[in-house]
């Protein structure tokens, strides 16, 4: 019974306002009160400190990552959002970037997207050092970001949204839009991504959440990117739509893109990614090959449970207050 509960991935909110899994609470209690149960043996092999696993596993040895970041640090005033973080994603690979709120996921993504350049550190794109100073630079380098709000124009149709800001024009009269050409390319892109949309001429407002997400991703694909960053692509989606988007992410991998997925939903992460990189308090605390790990271990790395840090962070009350 306890074992069953302990492996659940449900999150509980404690008095300090942070979210923990049942397991992490259990672990912190155990650390504090030196509890020993018959679960101990089970725990011991499922949760080992993951710090030692920070080498990229499951990658062809010697391959150059599509995108590599080294020693990234960033501070906001006195707050050190990222300290000495390394990050890499290979072509044809999906990397899940996970971590608790405030772990530095968004900050790291923003340094890649050029929205908030890092204070220190180097970025290499296909082995070449690059300086991503602005979103425009990122776009030019082939790094595309799909933000959580998707940034679609609800009143425009799928074709118009895909080509927004980069419309194609007729060769004869350059002032006029070439709707035929744009629609053709749209259908082609949607087909390569295996996205089904009833009509590419319906306003985006009438599409489902999954179709909207797909539209936003398809738009980035039109620019032939090298790296695609997806911020919470399955948040606020239903079961079927989530499936649709996960399929889409697999398609991106098949296209040979390097894909980075930020997600809070570990179930989704485990379904689609190849590697999980865990950030915690601005540091990279773990890297897991999805084939050889379990959600429990990732959660433990996210919450820092195996170090008993909940107790430290929660010094003023009993952590098991629920």
């Amino acid at each position: 019974m306890v074992g069953h509960l302990a492996t659940r991935l449900a999150y509980y909110r404690l008095a300090n306002g942070r979210w923990y899994t049942f397991k992490s609470i259990y672990l912190s209690l155990r650390n504090r009160y030196q509890l020993t149960t018959e679960l101990e043996g089970h725990m011991a092999d499922s949760i080992t400190p993951s710090v030692g696993e920070t080498t990229a596993s499951g990658q062809p040895p010697g391959a150059e990552p599509r995108l590599r970041m080294r020693g990234i640090s960033k501070s906001f005033g006195a707050v050190r959002a990222l300290s000495n973080v390394d990050f890499e994603v290979y072509a044809g690979e999906v990397v899940g970037l996970v971590g608790d709120n405030g772990a530095g996921k968004s900050t790291l993504i923003k340094t890649i997207a050029g929205v908030g350049p890092a204070d220190e550190g180097e970025i290499f794109l296909e082995g070449q050092p690059v300086n991503i100073a602005s979103p425009q630079v990122a776009t030019r380098l082939g790094i595309e970001t799909v933000y959580q709000d998707l940034a679609l124009c609800d009143n425009l149709d799928v074709v118009a949204n895909l080509f927004l800001g980069r419309e194609k024009h007729t060769p004869l009269v350059p002032a006029l839009l070439s709707e035929t050409e744009m629609e053709r390319s749209t259908l082609a892109v949607l087909k390569t991504l295996d996205v089904k949309i009833p009509s590419v001429r319906t306003p985006v407002a009438s599409l489902s959440g999954g179709q909207r997400q797909s539209t936003a991703v398809a738009r980035t694909i039109l620019r032939n990117p090298k790296v695609v960053l997806l911020d919470e692509p399955t948040a606020a989606l239903g079961v079927a739509q989530t499936r649709q988007v996960l399929n889409l992410i697999r398609r991106l991998r098949e296209q040979g893109l390097a894909v980075v997925v930020i997600s809070h939903n570990l179930a989704d992460v485990f379904e689609v990614v190849d590697r999980v990189i865990v950030l915690r308090l601005g540091r990279r605390v773990g890297t897991f090959d999805i084939k050889t790990t379990t959600p429990e271990r990732v959660v433990a790395a996210i919450t820092g449970a195996e170090f008993g840090e909940i107790t430290a962070a929660n010094g003023n009350g009993t952590p098991g207050g629920k």
Binding site: Q136, C153, L156, T180, E181, E183, T192
Partner: protein, 422 residues
């Protein structure tokens, strides 16, 4: 680095072209499986003009019956379209701004102000009419540009900026006119636009221009269909295409026949429809038009897509005031004078015509053709109530109700779409 990327893109776009050939075939095959949109969906998108059209028909039937057919006589309908020309033109400018989700409350004031500039140039300073008209239009553009600077660059709400402009230019035109409250316009060119018995297109133009436009439209429809077919895209059923062409032919040639049976096609009507067609092409077939809709739909998304949102707003406000100036020229020509008194209903009627026609006050939704139905409804009410010898009191009450109804429907449709959206 740039070279590498460019090469990369061309090679992958070549791939894309290969893929699209396959996808085209698939698309044709699956076309039949696509669910047809429901009536409700159609009503909120392509057929959104139907309720408005029905309203217009009801109004017209009501006045036709209650005036014993006088309302539908060619003479009265010719009058009607001349009466709505100014509302229509000014309303077209307003549509550009409404599509952005902004508003321009200064159009009536600006149009009168620009007409005053024109009148003073010709009547007091003896400038030629053509020069004065161009000066009026440029004045309008300048006024709109200044509005736009405050709205787009300084991000002051357009409501306030244009309200201030409205008051300011009303004062400025009083200052320019000085002691005069009415300045008679005698310049032959200006008068000939809409203010004389000869302000009608000669028959060869009155019949020729609309027919030419019609032929171009039909030709374009057919070429467009062929091109889509060749690209393997879904095409409209041939029956629907024929129906579309038939409706266009009947509407255009019917209107031309009607006008020709009286005095011909009024110049002002030709100007109005020429402007509609021009703006329609700009709004639907150019990047600029597409970007106007994008900014009105989601300004942040447009900005992230690399669209110059500030520039689009600036140009839209400039065009709006410039078109308002054109409306002022028409009004001065038709009234044979410029007056210090700004037409008190023009502002509301221009905005009302746009909104009644289906342009959303919230931005991003509506077409420039909306102005035709909207202005016809407003004009029919005005004209019909005049025929029935009703005073301003009744007219204003009725127009108020109609405007309120239109805005309410707009808000409800928007809510319905938001609910059915996700």
């Amino acid at each position: 680095m740039g070279d590498i990327i460019d090469k990369d893109q061309t090679s992958s776009s070549a791939q894309l072209a290969d893929q699209s050939a396959d996808s085209a075939a698939v698309e044709v095959a699956t076309a039949a499986a696509v669910p047809r949109p429901t009536i409700g969906q159609l009503l909120s998108t392509e057929l959104s003009f139907v309720p408005v059209l029905l309203t217009l028909v009801v109004i017209m039937i009501f006045f036709a019956v209650s005036t014993n057919g006088v309302f539908l006589e060619a003479r009265n309908l010719s009058n009607l379209v001349q009466q709505i020309a100014v509302i229509g033109v000014v309303g077209l400018g307003v549509i550009l701004v409404l599509l952005l989700g902004e508003i321009d409350l200064s159009v009536a004031s600006v149009s009168t102000f620009c007409a005053v500039v024109m009148g003073i140039l010709t009547e007091r300073l003896g400038a030629p009419g053509g020069f004065a008209i161009i000066a009026a239009l440029l004045t309008g553009a300048l006024v709109g540009f200044i509005n736009g600077i405050f709205i787009a660059v300084l991000r002051v709400p357009s409501f306030i900026v244009t309200l201030a402009a409205s008051i300011g230019y009303a004062g400025l035109l009083l200052y320019l006119l000085g002691f005069q409250s009415t300045l008679i316009v005698r310049d032959p060119l200006i008068v000939s636009i809409a203010g004389s018995a000869t302000s009608f297109l000669p028959d060869y133009l009155g019949i020729g221009l609309p027919t030419l436009a019609l032929l171009l439209y039909v030709g374009w429809l057919i070429i467009h269909r062929l091109r889509r077919r060749r690209a393997g895209l879904r095409t409209v059923p041939i029956l629907q295409l024929v129906g579309q062409i038939a409706i266009a032919v009947v509407l255009v040639e019917g209107a031309v026949t009607l006008f020709e049976s009286y005095n011909g096609v009024p110049n002002s009507t030709a100007i109005l429809f020429g402007l509609i067609v021009l703006l329609w092409l700009v709004a639907t077939r150019t990047s600029f038009g597409r970007h106007i809709y994008a900014v009105g739909g989601n300004a942040e998304a447009a900005r992230r897509a690399g669209i110059n949102v500030v520039g689009i707003r600036l140009v839209a406000f400039t065009l709006c005031s410039m078109i308002a100036a054109l409306g002022g020229v028409l009004a001065a020509s038709r009234g044979l004078a410029v007056e210090s008194q700004i037409n008190p209903t023009l502002l509301l009627q221009a905005i009302a015509a746009a909104v009644i026609g289906g342009v959303s006050l919230f931005g991003g939704r509506g077409t420039v053709w909306a102005i035709v139905l909207g202005a016809l409804i407003i004009g029919s009410l005005e004209n019909g109530l005049d025929l029935k010898s009703q005073g301003t009191d009744v007219k204003q009450m009725v127009e108020g109700v109609v405007l309120l109804a239109a805005v309410t429907i707009d808000a409800l449709v928007r809510r319905f779409q938001a609910r059915s959206g996700r």
